[in-house]
C-alpha cells in the first residue's frame, strides 16, 4: 500500500468537552442498551448522534441530563461529566442539572398555556426574575433567540398550542433557552416538521451554537451533516465512530459507518 496523506486537514484546536461520557453503560432491567461509550460533547458546537433505531443514541442523549432516571429499571454505570463534574454524583440536584442541560423533544410539546407563560414557566419556578419587567425581558429575549419573536410578539396571550408545528418547536426551544442553560439536548427536533420548518430550525441550531453547547439525535444523516461539527455513529449500543462531521461524511474510518451513511446497511 502506498503511503498516504489524509485529505481532511486537522482542525485548529478542538474546543474542550463541555460534557463527556466516560465508559457509559446503560441497562434497562437485564437488557444492556449501551456498552462502554466514551464520547465528548464539545463546547459551543453541535454534536450529532446518528445510527439505526435501537442503536443507543437517544439512550446516551438522555443520560446527559439524567432523563433515564424516570425510566423504571434503568441503571447507568460509568460517568457523565458536565464541566468535569459527574452529573450522577449524589450531590447533584437533578432539577438544577436540567436547568443547565435543557431538552427539546421530537414532538413539539408546548404547555396548554399562553405563548408567554410557556416561556415564562421555567424562569418563574427557578426564580430567575425579580419582577414582571425582568420576566418580560427574559420572555422577549428567549423568543428572539429562538427566532419566533416577530411571529408572536402581538399575540403572546394566545395559546402556544395554536401555533404551527414549526412555531411550536421554536416555542419549545425558547422555553428551553429561557432558563439560560449551557447545554441543549435535542431528540429528533425536526422529525415532525415539514422541510421549510426544518430548515428554519436548522438555521436556528447553527446560530445557537454561538452561545450554547448542543447535542442532537437525528435520523436524518443530511441533517447531521448540515448542522453538526462532530458526529458520533452508534450501532447496537456501541459507539462505532466519532469524529469531525466533515471527516465522517467524506471519509469514515470504520466500515460500518461507511455502510450506514451510504445506505448500504442490511
Amino acid at each position: 500500500m502506498p503511503t498516504v496523506l489524509n485529505i481532511v486537514s486537522p482542525m485548529d484546536a478542538l474546543p474542550p468537552p463541555k460534557m463527556e461520557g466516560v465508559d457509559v453503560k446503560v441497562f434497562y432491567g437485564a437488557k444492556q442498551a449501551l456498552f462502554d461509550v466514551s464520547l465528548p460533547v464539545r463546547n459551543r458546537s453541535v454534536t450529532a448522534m446518528i445510527g439505526p433505531s435501537g442503536c443507543g443514541k437517544s439512550t446516551f442523549l438522555r443520560c446527559l441530563n439524567r432523563m433515564n432516571d424516570v425510566i423504571l429499571g434503568a441503571r447507568v454505570e460509568g460517568a457523565i461529566t458536565l464541566d468535569g463534574q459527574n452529573v450522577y454524583d449524589k450531590t447533584v440536584d437533578v432539577v438544577q442539572l436540567r436547568a443547565r442541560v435543557g431538552m427539546v423533544f421530537q414532538k413539539p410539546n408546548p404547555f396548554p398555556k399562553s405563548i408567554y407563560d410557556n416561556v415564562a414557566y421555567g424562569p418563574r419556578i427557578h426564580g430567575l426574575s425579580a419582577n414582571k419587567a425582568e420576566l418580560d425581558g427574559i420572555v422577549e429575549t428567549s423568543l428572539k433567540k429562538a427566532g419566533l419573536w416577530k411571529e408572536v410578539a402581538d399575540r403572546l396571550d394566545q395559546p402556544g398550542t395554536g401555533l404551527s408545528g414549526g412555531q411550536q418547536q421554536r416555542l419549545c426551544i425558547a422555553r428551553a433557552i429561557a432558563v439560560s442553560p449551557e447545554v441543549i439536548l435535542m431528540d429528533e427536533p425536526c422529525s415532525a416538521l415539514d422541510p421549510i420548518a426544518t430548515a428554519i430550525i436548522e438555521e436556528l441550531i447553527d446560530e445557537l451554537r454561538q452561545n450554547f453547547t448542543i447535542a442532537i439525535v437525528t435520523h436524518s444523516m443530511q441533517q447531521a451533516a448540515r448542522v453538526s461539527q462532530y458526529t458520533a455513529f452508534f450501532h447496537l449500543g456501541y459507539l462505532v465512530e466519532y469524529g469531525e462531521t466533515r471527516q465522517i461524511f467524506t471519509n469514515p474510518k470504520e466500515a460500518r459507518t461507511q455502510a450506514y451513511i451510504t445506505g448500504r446497511f442490511g
Partner: protein, 234 residues
C-alpha cells in the same frame, strides 16, 4: 466499488457511471494509438478518422456530467459514493483532454505529411508516444480494478516521460538549427511531443483520482520530477 445499496437503483447508476468512464478510457486509448500510427505511417485517412472520432468522446463526457449532476441532486451521495462520483466527473474531463491532444496531433500530422519525412524525429515522437500509451493503458487497468498500488506505480513513472521529452526537445532544436527548412515541421513536432508529454501528466492525474476515490487520500510522497533541463539556458 463497494456495492449493494439498500436502494438498488443507486448501484445500477454507480456501475453505469464506471462503465461509461471505461468506455471513454478505451476510446481515448484508441485515439492516442491511432494518432501515433497515422504519424508513423503518414496515413492521412487514419488521421482524418481520428479527428472525426473526437465528437464521440465529447458526447460521453457530456453524458457523464449530466449523469453526475442527477446523482448529486437525487441520491445525495456520501463518503465513498461521493468520492466515486466526484472523481468520475474529473476523470471524464481528463480523458476528454487526452483525446483532444491525440486529435491535435492527428491534425498536425496532416501538415507533416505535406513535406519531406523526418524519420529520426518521427521515431522520437513514436517512442515517447508508445511510452505514454503504455502508462495510459496501465492506469485505465488500475481504474477498472480499483488498484491503488498499480495507480501509484504509474504515477511514479511519469518521470521517464519527462526525460524522454527533454531529449526530444533538444533533438528537434538541433535539426532546426542544422537545416532551417525543417523549422515548420520541427515546430509541429515540438508541439506534438509537448501534447504527448501533457497526456502523460493527465495520466498521473487519473492515478491520483483512483487513490482519492478508493481511499479518500492522495499519494503522500512528491512525484519524482525530470531534470527540467529544457527550462535552463543551453
Amino acid at each position: 466499488m463497494a456495492n449493494e445499496h439498500l436502494f438498488k437503483r443507486f448501484d445500477e447508476e454507480l456501475s453505469r457511471l464506471d462503465s461509461r468512464i471505461s468506455e471513454m478510457g478505451g476510446l481515448a486509448e484508441s485515439q492516442l494509438a491511432r494518432s501515433l500510427q497515422a504519424i508513423r505511417e503518414r496515413d492521412s485517412g487514419l488521421a482524418e478518422s481520428v479527428i472525426a472520432a473526437d465528437v464521440r468522446i465529447d458526447a460521453i463526457e457530456k453524458d457523464i456530467q449530466e449523469h453526475v449532476l442527477q446523482m448529486l441532486a437525487l441520491r445525495q451521495p456520501m463518503a465513498i459514493d461521493l468520492r466515486q462520483i466526484l472523481s468520475a466527473v474529473k476523470m471524464a474531463t481528463t480523458l476528454e483532454r487526452i483525446a483532444d491532444y491525440a486529435k491535435n496531433n492527428a491534425k498536425r500530422s496532416l501538415v507533416l505529411m505535406q513535406g519531406a519525412a523526418l524519420p529520426r524525429a518521427i521515431g522520437g515522437i513514436d517512442r515517447i508516444g508508445r511510452l505514454v500509451q503504455s502508462l495510459l493503458t496501465d492506469v485505465l487497468d488500475a481504474f477498472a480494478k480499483n488498484d491503488v498500488a498499480a495507480a501509484e506505480a504509474v504515477w511514479k513513472r511519469d518521470e521517464e516521460i519527462d526525460d524522454v521529452y527533454n531529449g526530444l526537445f533538444r533533438e528537434l532544436l538541433t535539426y532546426m538549427m542544422e537545416d532551417p527548412r525543417t523549422i515548420t515541421a520541427g515546430t509541429h513536432l515540438m508541439f506534438m511531443s509537448k501534447n504527448i508529454e501533457r497526456i502523460g501528466d493527465h495520466v498521473t492525474n487519473i492515478a491520483e483520482l483512483i487513490a482519492f476515490r478508493v481511499t479518500g487520500t492522495s499519494f503522500a510522497s512528491d512525484r519524482p520530477k525530470g531534470s527540467g533541463a529544457i527550462y535552463r539556458p543551453a
